[in-house]
C-alpha cells in the first residue's frame, strides 16, 4: 500500500473527525443555549415537568381528565421519577430535565462507540466517528436536550442491546439480566421501546430458542407485574391514559415523507449498514444489531406516521445504523489490510478503495446532516460553506422544515423569546382564577395550577374516552382568567366553547410561534 494512500486516508479521517466534531460543537452550543430557557421550547416539555412534580408529591400522573385540573400524562413514569428528587431540591424547572436528556444522548453515543470498538476489531478512530455520527443526526440533535423522555429511552435501549450482544451468546446470566432490566426501564420510559424488546427476543430466539424462552417468560412476567400495579394504583387510568390515548390516527404520507428524509440524511450510514446486514444474512450469523435495526427502522418508521409522532421515532434505528456501519467499515478495513502482499503490490493495495471510502462516507454524512446558525460568529463559516438560512431567520437545517412530522425546532432561543415568555407570565399574574394554557411553563412561573393537557384531551376525545362537560362548563362560566393557545390542540367542543366565551386580547410571539392570549368576552361578569 503506498504511502500516498495512507496519508490520504489519515487526512480524510481527520477531515471527517473535524466535520463531525463541528456538528457536535453546534449540538453542545444548542444545548447550552436551550437548557436555561425557562419556558416550553417544544410543546409538551412542561407537561413532562408536571409529571415529575406530581411524582415528587407522591402522586401518580395517570388521572381522571373529567375533573379539575383535567390533567393526565400519557407517558410511562421512569423519566419523571428520575426528575422527582430534582424537583425536591430545585423546585419545578426545565434545566435539569434537559441536562438529563442531553447526558442520555452522550451515553447513547458512548455505547455506540464502545460497540463498534468491541465488535469491529477495536478500531478506535472509527468507533469515535460512529458515536459522533449519532450525535450529528438531525433527528437526534433537536430532541437531544429537550425535557422529553425519548432520549433516555434510546440510551437505555442502546445500552441493553450492546450488553445483550455479548451476554446472551456467552450465557452470561448477570449480563442477560442486566440487559433485560435496561429494556424494562426503556419500556417504562416510553412505550416505543417495545419494538426493541421484540427485536432483542427475536434475535435471542434465533440464537438459542431454549435459553430465550425462560428469559422471555421472566421478562414478560416482571413487566406485566409493574403494568398491573400501575393500573391498580391509578384506578385503571394507567390503561386509559397511556394505552388508549396513544392509539392515534395514522397518516401514511407523513410516514413516507419521514422515511425519505431519514434516508436522505443518513444514507451514507444506511448503505454500509444494509451491506453488513446482507452479508450477515447470507454468509454469517445475524447479529442483534441487524435485527434491532430492521425492527426499529420498519416498525419505528411506520409508527412515525401516527398523529403526534415524528422523526424522533427513527432515533433508535439511527443508533443501530451507526453501530452497523461502524462495524462494517472497521471490518472492511481490517480485511483489506489482511489481503496478500503480492495482491497489494499488484494493485497498489486493494485496501485503498475502502481506506478512502470509509472517511469519505463520514464526510458525506457530516454534510448531509449539517445544521448550524448562520449569524453571529457562525456567519463567516456559513458564508464559506455557502449555507443560507432556510428554516428560521438565522438557522440552516439540511432537513429543512418542509416534511410533515419533522420537528420544527433546533434553532437557538434569544433574549427576546425569554422576555416574551415573561410577558405572558405577567399577564397571568395580573389575571384572576386559573388559566387554561396549552403549555405548562407559564403556569409554573406564575405559581398557578397546571390545567389540562391539550393533546391528551384531544386523543382521549377522539378515542371516545373524554367528554369534557365540566371543563366546558368552567369555560362557559368564565372561570379561567385567561386562555392561552398556540396550536389549538384542544378537542373541537373545547375550542368551540372557548370561541363562545373568550375573545382575542393580544398575541405574543415567542420562539417564532404566536401565542394567542384570550380573555373573557366583554360583559362576561355581568
Amino acid at each position: 500500500m503506498s504511502i500516498i494512500v495512507r496519508r490520504l486516508h489519515r487526512g480524510l479521517m481527520l477531515a471527517a473527525t473535524l466535520a463531525l466534531l463541528f456538528s457536535f460543537l453546534v449540538y453542545l452550543l444548542y444545548a447550552i443555549n436551550l437548557i436555561p430557557f425557562p419556558f416550553d421550547y417544544d410543546q409538551g416539555e412542561g407537561f413532562e415537568l408536571r409529571d415529575a412534580v406530581l411524582f415528587s408529591q407522591g402522586q401518580l400522573p395517570y388521572r381522571d381528565t373529567e375533573v379539575y385540573p383535567f390533567y393526565s400524562s400519557n407517558y410511562p413514569p421512569l423519566y419523571h421519577l428520575l426528575g422527582a428528587p430534582l424537583v425536591w431540591i430545585f423546585g419545578p424547572a426545565y434545566w435539569y430535565g434537559r441536562i438529563l436528556s442531553f447526558l442520555a444522548s452522550l451515553v447513547s453515543a458512548c455505547a455506540i462507540g464502545y460497540a463498534v470498538y468491541r465488535d469491529g476489531h477495536r478500531h478506535l478512530w472509527l468507533a469515535a466517528l460512529s458515536g459522533l455520527a449519532f450525535l450529528a443526526s438531525n433527528f437526534v440533535y433537536h430532541i437531544g436536550p429537550l425535557f422529553r423522555q425519548h432520549t433516555l429511552m434510546v440510551a437505555l435501549e442502546t445500552a441493553a442491546i450492546v450488553i445483550l450482544a455479548r451476554a446472551f451468546p456467552g450465557r452470561d446470566k448477570r449480563g442477560i439480566a442486566l440487559g433485560l432490566l435496561l429494556l424494562i426501564c426503556a419500556g417504562y420510559t416510553k412505550q416505543l421501546a417495545a419494538i426493541t424488546a421484540v427485536a432483542a427476543f427475536a434475535w435471542m430466539f434465533l440464537r438459542q430458542p431454549r435459553a430465550a424462552l425462560p428469559w422471555a417468560a421472566a421478562f414478560i412476567g416482571f413487566g406485566a407485574l409493574i403494568f398491573l400495579w400501575l393500573n391498580l394504583a391509578s384506578n385503571g387510568h394507567w390503561w386509559t391514559q397511556t394505552i388508549v390515548a396513544n392509539v392515534n390516527q395514522f397518516h401514511p404520507f407523513q410516514a413516507f415523507g419521514l422515511f425519505v428524509l431519514w434516508f436522505q440524511l443518513h444514507g451514507f450510514l444506511l448503505v454500509p449498514a444494509g451491506l453488513l446486514i446482507c452479508y450477515e444474512t447470507y454468509f454469517d450469523r445475524l447479529s442483534i444489531y441487524a435485527i434491532w435495526f430492521l425492527f426499529t427502522a420498519l416498525l419505528g418508521g411506520i409508527a412515525s406516521g401516527a398523529w403526534g409522532a415524528g422523526d424522533s421515532y427513527f432515533t433508535t434505528s439511527i443508533a443501530a445504523a451507526c453501530i452497523l456501519s461502524g462495524i462494517c467499515l472497521s471490518r472492511s478495513l481490517k480485511a483489506a489490510r489482511r489481503s496478500p502482499p503480492w495482491l497489494q503490490r499488484v494493485l497498489d493495495g486493494p485496501a485503498w478503495p475502502i481506506l478512502l471510502l470509509a472517511p469519505l462516507l463520514y464526510l458525506g454524512y457530516a454534510r448531509a446532516t449539517l445544521k448550524m446558525p448562520t449569524g453571529g460568529a457562525f456567519a463567516p463559516l456559513a458564508s464559506f460553506l455557502r449555507v443560507e438560512p432556510n428554516t428560521r431567520e438565522s438557522f440552516y437545517d439540511s432537513a429543512s422544515f418542509d416534511v410533515p412530522g419533522y420537528a420544527n425546532i433546533g434553532y437557538f432561543v434569544s433574549e427576546e423569546d425569554e422576555a416574551a415568555g415573561r410577558r405572558i407570565v405577567d399577564l397571568i399574574k395580573e389575571s384572576e382564577g386559573p388559566v387554561l394554557s396549552e403549555e405548562a411553563g407559564f403556569a409554573f412561573l406564575a405559581n398557578r395550577d397546571v390545567v389540562s393537557n391539550p393533546t391528551q384531551l384531544r386523543n382521549l376525545y377522539l378515542a371516545g374516552s373524554f367528554h369534557g362537560d365540566r371543563l366546558i362548563e368552567m369555560i362557559e362560566t368564565y372561570q379561567f382568567g385567561l386562555v392561552i393557545l398556540r396550536a389549538q390542540f384542544y378537542p373541537t367542543p373545547i375550542l368551540q366553547a372557548i370561541g363562545r366565551a373568550y375573545e382575542h386580547w393580544q398575541t405574543v410571539r415567542m420562539n417564532r410561534f404566536d401565542y394567542l392570549i384570550l380573555r373573557p368576552k366583554s360583559g362576561a361578569s355581568e
Binding site: 430466539f205 434465533l206 440464537r207 438459542q208 430458542p209 431454549r210 435459553a211 395514522f250 401514511p252 404520507f253 410516514a255 413516507f256 444474512t281 447470507y282 450469523r285 445475524l286 420498519l298 411506520i302
Partner: protein, 71 residues
C-alpha cells in the same frame, strides 16, 4: 429440537419468511376483498405492506438453499 445448543438454521428462517410473506400478502389483499365498495383500491399503507412482504418472501426463498447454516 430444544436441546441446549439448538439454533435456528437459515433454511428454517427462510421457510418462516416465506410463510409470513405469503400469509401477509393474502391478508393485505383480503382487506380489499372483505371491504367491498371501499373507494381507492390499494392504499399507500397497503402498498407499503405489500412491498415489505414481497421483499420478505424473496429473502425467504433465497435463504432456503443455504441449508443448516445457523441463521
Amino acid at each position: 429440537m430444544f436441546s441446549r445448543d439448538y439454533t435456528v438454521t437459515k433454511r428454517q428462517l427462510g421457510f418462516a419468511f416465506v410463510v409470513i410473506g405469503i400469509v401477509g400478502i393474502l391478508g393485505v389483499l383480503a382487506v380489499d376483498i372483505l371491504q367491498v365498495g371501499r373507494q381507492g383500491g390499494i392504499g399507500p399503507a397497503q402498498a407499503f405492506a405489500l412491498f415489505v412482504l414481497v421483499v420478505l418472501l424473496i429473502v425467504g426463498l433465497t435463504l432456503i438453499p443455504l441449508g443448516d447454516a445457523p441463521a
